[in-house]
């Protein structure tokens, strides 16, 4: 047997019967690729982490497009560091939530809330904290930016891992217990592979969303001060300040190239590999990635693997031994009194925190301000609803048309995915310029800005929904002569409802978050402002007005959580029970 180490995540194990080709073109390509990657990473890393700057000297961003590759690389590095951190967080948090009953009761609701909190509202808090932490160094800003991206990525991924772990087939779990797999073996052979697909897809989506936070966090004004971190996001901010349309164009081109490159070199291969870890035993069509094919056809990786395999195997066996299950791992039934004490202390802590927050806000700004902010929240909420309605009206027919035509879907789905990961705030300046020239109030315009990012979630979920309507049902509709309107009412509408709800939930969450950067925009020295909770938070952040930051962010969280509970959850349940296909 040539291969006995189970497939792990360290690399692509070659097939057991794979031939060993001679050193070929593929190896040249792989070798050059690895060297390039190492060079770029070390160069960029050195720049970010070695050059120390006191915070008084803000690094300048040059608008020369020749600097763009450098800026792009630095932004990309931030994204990947955040991704690594998110992954680590996911494993610790998701694992704890899935494995401990008591931890689960705190961690899962907390995650639900964290997911609903407008991350951008917290930028001010984190930036100040991190600057204080890394006094006199650029690292503070770097950390704050990475943290902002992290908060945009981590929650989704954690939920995905938690759900995968909780929905492991019970017989597999029993098998692992009965055959006494050690904790390490259980993790690498069962749990990690079983959650791989969900994790990779969620990571990919969250990574796409992360660009938005990157762009927002690289150039930020906090506590009456402008902080800039060299990167593609701050390049855009500088271009806006200088009213330089050409530079903006370059930034957008760079961004598109960057997204494409990362997709081809990172996510596509990862998705292809993860595809192998399907829990269903049915043989299906395999995903393809040219990079994975290249890697598999090259001999260099195989040589490397042959060299590393004995070491890896030894490490594997060592970890397995170290984490072996003890003789009697059976859990005792948790004591009832212990549970009660735990519950009561949970309630007390939660209540204490809530009271402290309310007292702080009331003491500092008064009840009138709360009412004012709540009204602004209603305004922003109204915008979110209007944009959802409009996006639905526009994109549902388009999505259904794409979903019903396999040819159209093949062409357009990658495009839609790219559009969804493209940070909408790169397009804000153009829209802002348009508003200024046409004299459109941002009260209306901000809806367009919010929609720029949010609408794509609706579109590609509707495409997916339309694709999942069985052909039989469509043929039935055609054969009994359902006309367009009737067909929509009887088949298409109910058929895509579930996907639409999923898309709308994501879009609504994204729109609330985007309101913080959409209700207050500028072009050069001209600043447009809309009445809304987003602008309220944005202004409070700029001024460092703590009570108003807490009030605004808290209210927005309440709005988001409330909408989720009162509107989206029931709709989702309805979709799951009544409008389920198959």
């Amino acid at each position: 047997m040539p291969v006995n180490l189970p497939r792990t995540f360290f690399g692509f194990s070659p097939q057991a019967d794979a031939k060993r080709p001679a050193f070929g073109l593929a190896d040249v390509a792989i070798g050059l690729g690895v060297l390039t990657l190492l060079y770029v990473a070390s160069r960029v890393g050195a720049q970010s982490f070695v050059r120390f700057n006191p915070p008084e000297i803000i690094p300048a961003v040059s608008l020369d497009p020749r600097n763009l590759p450098d800026y792009a690389a630095r932004s990309t590095l931030r994204m990947f560091i955040a991704l690594i951190l998110s992954t680590l967080f996911t494993f610790v948090y998701g694992y704890a939530a899935a494995r401990s009953r008591r931890a689960e009761r705190v961690l899962v609701p907390l995650l639900d809330i964290l997911q609903s909190i407008p991350v951008l509202g917290f930028l001010s808090v984190t930036v100040t904290a991190f600057i204080a932490l890394f006094r006199g160094s650029l690292l503070g800003l770097e950390a704050a930016s990475v943290f902002a991206i992290f908060t945009g990525q981590a929650w989704n991924m954690t939920f995905s891992l938690y759900q995968s772990l909780r929905s492991l087939p019970s017989e597999l779990d029993e098998m692992a217990t009965l055959y006494r797999l050690s904790k390490w073996e259980r993790f690498t052979r069962l749990e990690l592979p079983a959650s791989a697909i969900g994790l990779v897809w969620n990571g990919m989506m969250s990574f796409g969303g992360g660009w938005f936070f990157l762009a927002a966090s690289e150039a930020i004004s906090v506590l009456n001060r402008q902080y800039t971190l060299p990167g593609i996001g701050s390049y855009v901010a500088a271009a806006v300040a200088a009213r330089d349309l050409r530079a903006l164009g370059w930034a957008i081109v760079t961004m598109v190239i960057l997204i494409l490159l990362i997709d081809q070199f990172f996510w596509k291969p990862l998705v292809t590999i993860a595809d192998r870890y399907k829990l269903e035993l049915s043989a299906g069509e395999e995903r393809q990635s040219w990079l994975v094919d290249l890697w598999r056809s090259a001999s260099l990786p195989q040589h490397a693997e042959r060299l590393t395999q004995p070491v890896l195997r030894r490490v594997d066996a060592m970890l397995a031994k170290a984490t072996a299950v003890k003789a009697k791992p059976q859990r005792r039934a948790p004591s009832k009194t212990g549970d009660r004490v735990y519950n009561v202390s949970l309630i007390l802590i939660t209540a204490g925190l809530l009271i402290a927050a309310v007292r702080f806000v009331l003491a500092e700004v008064g009840i009138g301000e709360v009412g004012h902010a709540a009204l602004l929240g209603l305004l922003t909420g109204g915008r979110v609803i209007v944009l959802l309605v409009f996006s639905t009206l526009v994109w549902t027919p388009v999505g259904v048309a794409i979903g019903f035509s396999p040819k159209l879907a093949r062409v357009s789905q990658p495009i839609v995915q790219i559009l969804a990961s493209f940070p909408a705030n790169f397009l804000f300046p153009f829209a802002t310029l348009g508003f200024i020239m046409l004299g459109i109030s941002l009260n209306w315009g901000s809806m367009l800005l919010m929609a720029l990012g949010a609408q794509w979630y609706l579109l590609f979920n509707v495409i997916g929904g339309a694709q999942s309507i069985p052909n039989d049902l469509r043929e039935m509709a055609a054969s009994i002569g359902l006309r367009r309107g009737r067909e929509w009412k009887a088949l298409i509408g109910p058929g895509i409802f579930g996907s639409w709800v999923t898309g709308a939930i994501t879009a609504s969450g994204g729109a609330w978050n985007a309101s913080i950067v959409s209700e207050l925009v500028s072009w050069g020295n001209t600043t447009l402002r809309a009445n809304g909770l987003g602008a309220y938070i944005s202004e409070a952040t700029g001024k460092g007005d703590w009570p108003r930051i807490v009030l605004g962010v808290g209210l927005m969280s309440i709005f988001v959580v409330g909408l989720n509970r009162l509107v989206w959850r029931p709709l989702y349940d309805l979709a799951e029970t009544k409008y389920r296909l198959g």
Partner: protein, 438 residues
């Protein structure tokens, strides 16, 4: 094989779960069981008899609420290291090769790589999988996947090899084939375990494989008695003794009160008789077939000609008996006059007959009708009924009872159920509603 020492003993083992409405649901009560060296024991029971629960208690995967398990005389704590299990759904890891799957248990035991490899190769060749070592489970057919499951258990060389309905996820021919090979291994004394404990609801399978069949009763699960199968191996399915034993067990299993092998039967604690999970379509289908075959048919034959497992067939038989459409006599289904009429009636008339039998024989339906008539608006919520059912059944069983009740009541046109607002309507009230809606 010599039968002497006890490998595995369950002593007064019971298991209960808390019910949502308070109180407890007893899944298994007071089971004492002994697995001796060199024997094949089958746990035979219908769904709800707690047979899988009992197996998992013996495997140390579930802790009993009371009683204890002894392994080679010592009380069991945690997973039982002296057993290996073959699972109904195979429980293979799709991302590991056949070889890696088979090695898994040994590897976890910390054996050297060479030993794992060698043992797995031996076990795989025992189940006829030479040459498939590098394949992935998804490339294999269902039968071959379960062979990997067997090989994984074989390499452990356990005292007791446990099988949890190992053939029920396979198609009939494949199951037959694999069952034959396993019993062949046992008969040749080549089986890599000292004893076998198999859970099944397939009567023929139990008679074919076991030395001893432990018949479990349902709600709550308990041992009703055991049947010794004293027939030479390999057993001939067409032999008269084989057929009469299968018939006998069918009779036992369709009559919860019947004594098993002269052991006194327990009085079923059924203040609240459980509705068998049979759809009206299934009941009338069964009755039509029995009627076509002269009004009387052998249950095993019926199961075989319909290609149905007992668990699928028996609910329809039970429901027919409950509604007095048929009765079970010595392993045969015998149709009653009402059953004959029901089987041959036109659509409209069959609804009426069903209604008559339902009202006459199922008191709970009468209770529901009364509750409906007492309500001013003529409707009651699902929750209300579930609350009642929850006192007698587990949460999931209460749901199934409710579903069956709705199915029967709808067919009898006694009441209607609106799944959207989860309410039962008296039938007349529903008609006006539906005309409004439509």
């Amino acid at each position: 094989m010599e039968q002497n020492s006890s490998l595995l003993i369950a002593e007064h083992v019971a298991k209960s779960f808390p019910l949502p409405a308070g109180g407890e649901q007893t899944v298994l009560e007071e089971v004492t069981l002994n697995i001796a060296q060199g024997e094949v024991v089958a746990l035979l029971g219908r769904s709800g008899s707690g047979k899988s629960t009992l197996l998992r208690i013996l495997a140390g995967l579930i802790q009993p609420s009371s009683g204890r398990v002894l392994v080679n005389g010592a009380p069991l704590e945690g997973p039982n290291s002296q057993v290996a299990m073959v699972f109904q759904s195979f429980a293979l890891l799709p991302w590991l090769t056949v070889q890696e799957n088979a090695e898994l248990g040994l590897f976890a035991r910390g054996e050297a790589k060479e030993i794992c490899e060698k043992e797995a190769t031996v076990a795989l060749s025992m189940v006829g999988l030479e040459g498939f070592e590098g394949a992935y489970p998804k490339e294999l057919s269902g039968g071959m996947r379960q062979r990997v499951g067997f090989a994984r258990a074989f390499v452990m060389k356990p005292d007791v090899l446990m099988m949890d309905e190992p053939f029920s996820a396979l198609d009939v021919l494949t199951a037959e084939n694999l069952r034959g090979e396993i019993s062949d291994l046992w008969e040749r004394n080549a089986f890599p375990a000292k004893s076998i404990l198999i859970v099944t609801h397939n009567i023929e399978e139990a008679v074919l494989l076991a030395d001893r069949i432990v018949v479990l009763g349902a709600n709550p699960g308990c041992v009703r008695g055991e049947v010794r199968v004293e027939m030479p191996r390999p057993r001939d399915k067409k032999a008269a003794r084989f057929i009469s034993l299968v018939d006998y067990i069918y009779t036992v299993m369709t009559n919860p009160q019947a004594p098993v092998a002269a052991l006194p039967a327990k009085e079923p604690s059924s203040r609240f008789p459980m509705l068998p999970h049979a759809r009206v379509g299934g009941i009338s289908g069964l009755l039509e077939i029995v009627n076509d075959r002269g009004g009387r048919e052998d249950l095993p034959k019926l199961a075989e000609s319909l290609r149905l497992e007992v668990d699928d067939l028996l609910p329809a038989v039970d429901a027919s008996a409950m509604l007095r459409f048929a009765e079970v006599v010595q392993g045969d289904v015998v149709i009653t006059d009402a059953g004959k009429e029901f089987a041959t009636a036109g659509v409209h008339r069959s609804h009426e007959i069903f209604k008559e039998q339902l009202l006459a024989n199922v008191p709970f339906v009468t209770t529901v009708i009364e509750a409906l008539s007492q309500k001013k608006n003529g409707r009651i919520g699902k929750d209300f009924l579930l609350d009642i059912l929850d006192e007698h059944f587990s949460a999931s069983e209460a749901e199934r009872q409710f579903e069956t009740l709705v199915d029967w009541g709808r067919y009898a046109q006694l009441f209607e159920y609106d799944a959207n607002d989860e309410r039962l309507y008296a039938a007349e009230a529903e008609i006006s509603e539906s005309t409004l809606d439509g």
